[in-house]
Amino acid sequence: MNETMVQSQPVVASASAPEKLLTVENVTLSFGGVRALSDVSFDIRKSEIRAIIGPNGAGKTSMLNCINGFYHPQAGRITFKGKMRQRMRPYDAALQGIARTFQNVALFKGMTTLDNILTGRTLKMHRSFFWHLFRHGPAMNEEIEHRKYCEEIIDFLEIEHIRKTPVGRLPYGLQKRVELGRALAMQPDLLLLDEPMAGMNLEEKEDMCRFILDVNRQFGTTIALIEHDMGVVMDISDRVVVLEYGHKIADGSPDEVKADQRVIDAYLGVSH
């Protein structure tokens, strides 16, 4: 992959005194009477792949929504890059370097693959409205410079052939890939993936795994992902946190988690 893609921080082996990128402390979130999350705490280390798993309705997505400021927990604190934050808007999350994908693809249906990925660059674009009036000079140069970057992503995700197809027309698997690309375009420090492999066939899943691992390795991007497919989770993630009915019931390396009795119970009878 081209130098421009490679991020500043190198790949750190999750060894001695790993730096914490994000910590969640005693977060509680409820809608009306319903408790989505109660007193959940865990942390995400720099450059690791962190999986959040749990049965349906365990509050996984709500957790992500809290992390990127879409929901505001009633209690508890979330610290990102050492900064505690209150009532943060999703925009600020983006600003701080948190990108995400969605459980059911949230692409901009009316736009092409390329344009979707380009929107991921918005925060990195600074040319004034004035220059955009003419689409020449600085504005155009900026567009081109970012187009180059997006082409790297397109090449990386092997979606050259759909570069100019409106995403609405793409099969589900490809849409998920484009969405990942859009998130990557933000050069995030923390990448939240909400069921990146939901509804994919085996082959697509394997590709997606490869991409996730490559992203993590090539750019040292920290990844937090929600996934149902236990096999996948255990393969690619460094540490796993398990939620059930809004409570954390386990946290640790895949093997530890696999061995945990409560996890086994939680997953008994839950269909995957």
């Binding site: 809608f31 997505t61 929504n65 879409f70 969605f102 459980q103 949230a106």
Partner: protein, 318 residues
């Protein structure tokens, strides 16, 4: 200084000094509000059942009234004309379901919204082409609607109540009552409520969506007809009404798109609000504020309660 005075003090002094005028204004606002409410009611019915924001509701009022009067002018006895008009409204509902709703099912809301614009223009064109564009007089007495006025001597003044207004108020209330009974206790009514919640539910009740749409649009049509008669009896029947009908929109915003009581309350707030506003504050800005006051009231209101008076809180999820 006296600006502030004329805004914040003077009007209330007036209200105090001439309570009868206040009551008179309130009453007129009330009646106006009732009529707004009726139009809004039509919107709500259709929006609940088919998720369509029926912009044509206003013109349906005019169209219904025109048809009634037009038929009468063509020599049809009043009540027969009334019956026929009801028939026409049914045909209209059926045609709309067939020609507009069915082909557009599953299209984004805005498309259906636009479709009702098209409907509006079509109805205007038809109405004018058939019955001519010039204002008509509602055949109030032929329908045995009361005429004249009652003068109440109260609060040391005289409050004049047009009988027709009273009639309008009563009929409106009766109709609203009837409707809610209909929704509560009839099978179709329940189906309609179900469809408002989820289309599948409606099917489980055993009524096809298409039927439901026809029914709803028909009911809306009847509501429109009654509204038209009332309104026509108060002023006259002309397409000017169409613009007035737009007032139903702010009413809806207050009341919420899906709430029948909301429509009523909203209607009253708007009706009374704009009358009071016009009567006491209008002069300060040169009058004729009715044309926009309603919308501004709604707008201000929206800033604080985007989901309307009775609308449920919207929780966004992703």
């Amino acid at each position: 200084m006296d600006i502030l005075y004329s805004i914040f003090v003077d009007p209330f002094m007036q209200m105090g000094s001439a309570p009868d005028l206040l009551v008179q204004t309130l009453w007129e606002g009330f009646v106006g509000g009732i009529l707004y409410a009726l139009i809004a009611l039509g919107f709500v019915l259709i929006f609940k059942a088919s998720g369509v924001f029926n912009f044509a509701q206003g013109i349906m009022v005019v169209f219904a009234a025109l048809t009634l009067v037009g038929l009468y002018e063509k020599g049809v006895p009043a009540f027969l004309a009334l019956a026929i008009t009801i028939g026409v409204m049914f045909v209209l509902a059926y045609a709309i379901e067939r020609v507009v709703l069915r082909p557009l099912v599953n299209q984004p809301d805005i498309i259906l919204f636009m479709a009702t614009f098209g409907l509006t223009y079509l109805l205007i064109g038809l109405g004018e082409a058939i019955f001519g564009g010039n204002p008509k007089v509602m055949i109030a007495e032929q329908l045995y609607l009361p005429k004249g006025a009652i003068d109440l001597k109260i609060l040391g003044g005289v409050v004049t109540l047009q009988k027709i207004d009273i009639a309008a108020a009563i009929i409106a209330l009766v109709m609203i009552g009837a409707l809610s009974l209909f929704f509560q206790y009839t099978r179709i009514g329940r189906a309609l409520r179900a469809v408002a919640d989820s289309h599948k539910a409606a099917l489980s009740v055993g009524i096809s969506l298409n039927q439901i749409w026809v029914i709803v649009w028909f009911i809306a049509g009847v509501v429109a007809l009654i509204t038209g008669i009332m309104w026509g009896a108060r002023s006259d029947v002309s397409f000017a009404l169409q613009v007035v009908a737009l007032k139903a929109l702010p009413v809806l915003i207050l009341g919420g798109f899906t709430s029948v009581p909301g429509a009523i309350v909203g209607g009253l707030i708007i009706g009374i609000g704009e009358k009071i506003g016009e009567f006491y504050w209008g002069p300060l800005v040169g009058g004729a504020t009715e044309s926009w006051l309603a919308y501004c009231i709604a707008l201000v209101f929206l800033m604080f309660r985007p989901q309307g008076l009775f609308g449920e809180r919207i929780i966004e999820r992703i």
